[in-house]
Symmetry: C3
Subunit: 337 residues, 3 copies
């Protein structure tokens, strides 16, 4: 969508330096921009690219304003300001309200007149789809679910049952919410399935990535609070609570009944064992494994960076001989006294 | 479903202390229970919650019977007894037999008259769906498959081809069974695909989690024996065998041609390399990586618990200097003689 | 498909020792072969199985020709030659061209007359499906996509939008290509979504495993070059480039904006952090974590092999005391001078 720089800047409370009437209608990196592009400079390392950018305007911090060849929009948080403006220039695709004739909708479901239910979607009994929500092709929304207003289930998303989703949530393709948790009781004859009768409650403004899975609670609900961001292929087990505005990167796993605080960040492939509690503002680095309560905000880590395999194998061997090394030191200490 | 405590207890061979006529119709934690709830006490740490629970009855071990304020059901394995009783109170959702008009069923497929094939499901050539089985919305069951009796493919499950599934199996949404294994032969011009012509054989009473994948065998079948429990986002590669009653938690990966014994347990994000053999009754802890045969039952581990990042980085640096530390000790030993 | 040994051998430039007219029509291991099977010997460890195989012919290296009881086909790369011949004997399933009546195809889409669009598939606006391509049941191909010739989207695959796929690509069930990258800008009020407006460009002869996800670029495209092989449950984040003929095994994750070279190999569950560069011909072992640029070809590793838990816990404890051990050695050194 084309919009003038003046309107963009004023809508988000930023100062514009340049022609307020210039239009922008696309987003670009500094390198790839044209005369109708909005671009941004967030990482100062790329400052040298400002000189040659053709962008109509660059969103940047005040100290870089002098370097922009064309217009610039001043912000103390240029990445966030760019994100908001980008959402105006490139809004999510529009859709017509209505239920596609190939969709299968239960007679007891309630679909807002402003919602769209796409081809081959399925809406189960007693389920409600809110205003301006989009249920994409191939989505299955099981019984007793609720999708709030302005929700978007892109395609092939499954809400198994008893999944309550707030407003403005985005669920990417293949996400599965509300499937049975992994509840099994051991007996001499093998496992007995423990019925999983809880649901999943998801707050407002939550985004869930492609092929991620969030299981229903065993008895009570699994809870994802407002503003949580979950990347692709993430596993959230039954009875977990994820605090507001926590971000969880790709392939992380949170085991059952764990409670995660607010504004935490989990880097890719990290894991958290079950039945523990992590306080607010904790950051876990890539492939980290959290195995007990964390009560202090901060950064936590436990993974080794890859090395050439010979060096690494030597380290592994040394670690295995640490006991012996320690004994040799003890002997030296004894001998030296 | 409402059922009397007396009938519940007698059906599963447990002693009831309390009014046999009291009905229960829901499952609850000790905290959340009401006068028609069945609850349980498995972990003695929660014993203090017994005093205030409003549950109609609590399933518990004999030594705690005196602490229950209302009725109790005595069991030496209260979690398993609760699981069985819970399955009666909250059975899987009922369904009508029949093929939904929007489902697409091959003329050569055989669908039991008591099975349900839901909206937008697809059933391929020569495929058989057994008695009382449920093929949920959006499921794709490819050619030459067999789903046994009382099976449940919840929604958007894919059986690619040549997948044989026993009785009473549950496949959660997004699970993909029988896709091609990762078979590639290197040539100077790049990879050549190795056709994957085996199938997948799954026993009785197997449960497979959301978005997990089990590949078909390259030539022979991939095999999942009776009673195996697989959680979400698990990867089982081609030609693997998983022994009966083994449980595999979320995001584990088992590489090709590996043979896993019976009653093993794999905690979340653990991995097993290909072409090895793991004996019965092995437990692998979270993020563990099994890289060679295991011939002795027991618990195996290889992951570090996360620490504050500064402490962790110091450990990493120390490990990298272990060679030097070892040499210094050697020098001290030489000098001391 | 039945084919004579003579034709097989000559088609792929191999020498045949045995009856050129003998037909083969199935693939088998040396153990499981019958008189119409093609088998192969790639790993010399299985050489002893040659004596008893019933295979019509075995593809093998010249030095083993004397051990084959029946015919043999000589190749310096028997696994690759077998793979090519196997592709002739067991070609992918044939299909009729045409659009299934239950498929939903946009009026602005272009479907080749030789392509197949299966039941309950969805083809979005301005999307093109090339010659002889197969779009399986339940697949969703969003707007502005292009699937080249001879492509196969097996079932329940999702191409979200702006996904360009070359010729002869295979996408296994549940794969999601082109979903939004994980772009979030932090503000005091929580995360702001950064619109993801790039696409995904995939070369020729690429294979992508079940339930893997490849996100669209934030601004420019995510790129997968020719001949890349991606296994199941792999995560490729936004703006990544994967070089030609690189192979990525199950559950690997490549974080955003990383550039991977050609002919690399990533073993299962390995990970690569964002914004780095890995040169050609790098191999990363299972569960390895690459945290900085790699500029030299070779094998890299960082994961421990699992040990019995008591030995492992002792190693962990020793590592945590390394600081103290180092100090003790320092003291000994001081004392000894």
């Amino acid at each position: 969508m084309a919009i003038s720089l003046g309107e963009l800047a004023s809508r988000f409370g930023c100062e514009l330096i340049g022609d307020a009437d210039s239009p922008v209608d696309n987003l670009a990196s500094l390198d790839g921009a044209n005369s109708r592009s909005l671009s941004f400079l967030s990482n100062p390392a790329f400052r040298n690219k400002l000189a040659t950018t053709e962008a109509a305007a660059v969103v940047l911090r005040p100290e870089f304003a002098g370097d922009a060849p064309n217009a610039c929009i001043i912000s103390d948080n240029p990445y966030a300001s760019y994100a908001k403006m980008a959402g105006v220039i490139c809004p999510p695709p529009a859709f017509e309200p209505g239920v596609h004739p190939t969709a299968e909708v239960s007679a007891s479901a309630t679909i807002s007149a402003t919602a769209h239910v796409a081809a081959h979607a399925f809406i189960g009994d007693n389920t409600t789809i809110g205003d301006f929500s989009f249920i994409g092709p191939g989505c299955v929304v099981g019984p007793d679910c609720e999708v709030g207003d302005h929700g978007r289930l892109i395609a092939n998303v499954t809400l198994a049952r008893k999944v309550m989703i707030g407003s403005r949530c985005i669920l990417h393709p293949g996400a599965v919410i509300g499937a049975d948790g992994f509840g099994n009781a051991m007996t001499p004859e093998g496992w007995v399935k423990v019925p999983q009768v809880g649901g999943v409650r998801i707050g407002d403004d939550v985004e869930i990535g492609a092929n991620s899975t969030i299981d229903c609670g065993a008895i009570d609900d699994t809870v994802i609070e407002d503003g949580v961001r979950i990347d692709n292929l993430v596993m959230v087990a039954h009875n977990v609570t994820i605090g507001a505005h926590t971000a969880i990167a790709g392939q992380c796993g949170i085991a059952g009944s764990t409670v995660i605080g607010k504004r935490c960040m989990f880097a890719g492939q990290s894991g958290v064992v079950g039945h523990i509690k992590i306080c607010d503002d904790v950051i876990v680095s890539g492939q980290g494994m959290v195995s007990k309560d964390i009560t202090e905000p901060g950064v936590y880590a436990s993974s080794f960076p890859a090395e050439p395999v010979r060096a690494w194998n030597r380290s592994v061997a040394r670690i295995r001989r640490l006991d012996k090394l320690s004994e040799r030191v003890k002997k030296l200490e004894r001998d030296s006294t």
